[in-house]
């Protein structure tokens, strides 16, 4: 079957170590993760993973079943690019003189909707968000003008048709609210604990 880009959306508990458990499901099948983002979801205490892979639908479907099988995973969806609204963020560090002296660079940045994040004498940092092709095109253009540094963030995506699960999620959140995360409180008390 033909491989294409799929975006997997997972709703999970906010558990320590879950990212390892999830990434292990991909790595054991030798599937490369193109992009991975984790963040809180609209429901408190429930996290959302957005994972991009290039695979056939059959493989993605099986992966989602394996993912959903994990105790801490509430739901797994997979979607093609057409079924989601998605964005990737990018930061570009460009020499300041190029922007100030060459107006066409500024025009280029305007054209791509980039906004300024930091202005220094030696460099300027721009930020933009969009589809990967747009970001890649801007990167290519800025490379011609001495792009110093570039970083792109992981994909974030909203499923166009996810109203049904949103309702369920909010119901979960209402019925079974999650407690707050507590980190290991002993890690800074090494000296005061007796060891064998």
């Amino acid at each position: 079957m033909e491989k294409k880009e799929y975006t997997i959306t997972l709703y999970t508990e906010n558990s320590i170590g879950l990212i390892g458990r999830i990434s292990g499901i991909f790595s054991r099948r030798k599937i490369n993760i193109e992009s991975l983002n984790t963040s809180p979801s609209e429901a408190e205490g429930i996290h959302r993973f957005t994972i991009v892979i290039n695979e056939s639908e059959e493989v993605v479907k099986k992966l989602c079943r394996q993912l959903e099988k994990q105790v801490d995973v509430l739901k797994a969806y997979y979607n093609t690019d057409e079924e989601i609204v998605w964005q990737e963020q990018a930061l570009y560090k460009v020499p300041a003189d190029v922007v100030t002296e060459k107006l066409y660079v500024e025009r280029l940045l305007r054209q791509y909707g980039a906004s300024t994040v930091v202005i220094r004498q030696d460099y300027i940092v721009f930020e933009t968000a969009g589809h990967r092709e747009e970001i890649d095109r801007l990167t290519e253009e800025l490379n011609k003008y001495g792009l110093i540094e570039f970083v792109r963030g992981a994909r974030i995506a909203i499923i166009k048709n996810s109203a049904g699960f949103h309702e369920k999620l909010m119901e979960f959140d209402h019925r079974e609210p999650s407690p707050n995360l507590v980190e290991n409180e002993y890690l800074d008390q090494r000296g005061s604990v007796f060891t064998m």
Partner: protein, 581 residues
């Protein structure tokens, strides 16, 4: 003391009046008692010492079996779980203690055994510092546990253990590991009582049963001319033996077992047509590619069952009943998936299927069975040559046990022979390592199986190779008096590898010739009675003596060095290309 709840947890412990201040270690043991645990297999060490210290006061309620290696502990717990239907419990210390559980965890994971492992861990303040005997046991065991969790504060213990037992035993069972830091074991906290876990927000152990699929499945079965049932351990795990029997009897469908499904249906049932797979019976393998509807019940289409997938049952419509939705379509594309516990789905299906008797179709199995008897079984069970075969040992054993014993096996040729020829009258009486194929499993599993069903005769059938991987558990038998009968089928080879080398590597016997100690003398060193048999005329009497002996017994039987296990589906072949010789 305030209650610390880790991520994703909702407190479930209810107040039962006034709080009592107890240690984390005591809370562990209280939790086990609340879960109905009476037997624990384990090995102490520095990081789990507080739990062992607390155990000193619980001796009358909790039986602790001190094994000789942590791998022995977890295989024993697996044997316990498989023979009793309960959850097996293991204690181990941190670092090497915990890593010695890894093989057993992987084995339990693939064979769906409900196990709760409790490991000690270094003080929470030392986590991540490469402290003495520290390993990152959570990350090491993540892919081979159904769930794992590290406790760093005593107040987490009751809920963590309650969740562990719930997760291990529900849905598709599996191993769970709780790693408890030493400070949490020592720490005093306000114990508010224990509440069993019956619900976890993100965990749905059983998928919703969809009636439309039951109806569709029944329709396919009712239209079928040549329906065929493959059943696996899901029938036993779902405690659905009676429901399964009712289903096949009403529909009149020939039924074959996977290796782990053995004993779910009595071996002498009129619809039982044998075992599937690489060394399974001839008829079920061949007829898989002849049937028109294949009904898989609680089995997972392992590659040792299917052979070449692209030639597997291509002509058949496939109905797959499984509690684990991830198994549907994983290996074999299903026509109708029937999600759910087969204890619930089978009666729904039975209600809708018509009474039938596929007599002519069943006769086809019996015809092929006759061929297998003529070509393979007769010679294996009634050899004319002077050298004993493994099959005749199992046949003699059947005559003595009448199919009522629990049989554990190790892994290799003897495992396949025992699984092919042993008779089982009762469910949960075949205990073997299927998915992982772990050599060294048989002996410790037998110890656990005996504790799980002490009223039964438990027989470990092992090879000379696998036995030497965990033979130190003879010490456990000696100390605790587990009445396990050990039958070593000694062919002085790592037999299965040798068979492959013979068949596929032009007899290049590379490092399969294994020298063994004097097993009987070894048993005697552990104060276990034993005998070695090399002549056929001594076999039956020796077996009888072993079984009648009040206590553990080791019987070493010398069998043919280069005997092979047939039939065989060679790797990369279709199941219908099964070789009879």
């Amino acid at each position: 003391m305030n209650t610390i709840q880790k991520t994703g947890y909702k407190p479930q412990v209810e107040e039962r009046g006034k709080a009592i201040e107890i240690s984390g270690s005591k809370a562990v043991l209280e939790a086990l008692l609340e879960e109905g645990v009476d037997t624990v297999f384990g090995y102490p060490g520095g990081a789990i010492m507080p739990i062992y210290d607390a155990l000193y006061d619980y001796n009358s309620q909790l039986k602790h079996i001190l094994v000789r290696h942590e791998q022995g502990a977890i295989h024993a717990a697996q044997g316990f779980a498989r023979s009793s239907g309960k959850t097996g419990v293991v204690f181990a210390t941190s670092g090497p203690g915990a890593t010695n559980l890894v093989t057993g965890l992987a084995d339990a994971m693939i064979d769906s055994n409900p196990i709760v492992c409790i490991t000690g861990q270094v003080f929470a303040s030392l986590l991540g510092t490469d402290a003495f005997q520290e390993t990152d046991v959570i990350n090491i065991t993540t892919p081979i546990t159904k769930w794992n969790y590290q406790v760093t504060d005593a107040s987490e213990i009751p809920e963590a253990i309650a969740r562990a037992f719930h997760i291990a035993a529900t849905g598709r069972p599996g191993p769970v590991l709780i790693d408890i830091t030493k400070n949490a074991q020592l720490q005093l906290f306000d114990y508010m009582g224990y509440k069993k876990c019956s619900h976890i927000r993100s965990y749905r152990p059983e998928p919703e049963i969809r009636n439309e699929y039951i109806e569709k499945a029944a329709e396919l079965i009712n239209q079928a001319q040549k329906p065929f049932v493959l059943f696996g351990q899901g029938v036993i795990l779902g405690k659905a033996e009676a429901e399964f029997k009712a289903f096949i009897e009403k529909a009149g469908i020939p039924s074959a077992s996977t290796l782990l499904g053995l004993s779910a249906l009595p071996s002498d049932h009129s619809l039982y047509v044998g075992m599937l797979g690489m060394h399974g019976n001839y008829a079920p393998n061949v007829m898989t590619n002849e049937c028109d509807v294949l009904i898989a019940v609680g089995m997972r289409f392992d590659d040792r069952v299917t052979g070449r997938l692209d030639q597997y049952a291509k002509q058949a419509k496939i109905i797959h009943l499984d509690i684990d939705p991830a198994e549907i379509d994983k290996n074999v594309k299903t026509t109708v998936p029937v999600w759910g516990n087969c204890k619930k789905t089978l009666p729904l299906l039975t209600e809708l299927v018509k009474s039938n008797n596929h007599g002519a179709w069943l006769d086809q199995f019996r015809e092929l069975e006759k061929e297998e008897i003529k070509e393979v079984i007769h010679n294996e069970l009634n050899p004319s040559g002077p050298v004993m075969t493994m099959g005749e040992v199992i046949k003699a054993l059947n005559e003595l046990t009448n199919g009522d014993a629990i049989i554990t096996t190790d892994v290799g040729q003897h495992q396949m022979v025992a699984s092919r020829y042993a008779k089982f009258n009762h469910s949960k009486s075949s205990v073997t390592s299927g998915g992982l194929g772990t050599m060294g499993f048989g002996l410790p599993a037998a110890i656990g199986a005996w504790y799980g069903a002490p009223q039964k005769t438990v027989i470990a059938i092992v090879g000379d190779g696998g036995f030497q991987m965990t033979l130190q558990e003879l010490g456990t038998i000696m100390q605790f008096g587990a009445k396990v009968k050990i039958i070593i089928l000694n062919n002085e080879f790592l037999g299965m590898v040798r068979q492959w080398q013979q068949l596929f590597n032009e007899k290049r016997y590379s490092f399969v010739d294994i020298t063994s100690p004097d097993f009987v003398a070894l048993a005697k060193a552990y104060h276990i009675e034993g005998q070695k048999v090399s002549e056929r005329e001594d076999l039956k009497e020796a077996l009888k003596k072993a079984i009648d002996h009040d206590g553990a017994y080791l019987l070493e039987v010398m069998v043919g060095k280069e005997n092979n296990v047939f039939p065989m589906v060679t790797q990369g072949s279709s199941v219908s290309d099964i070789r009879l010789k």
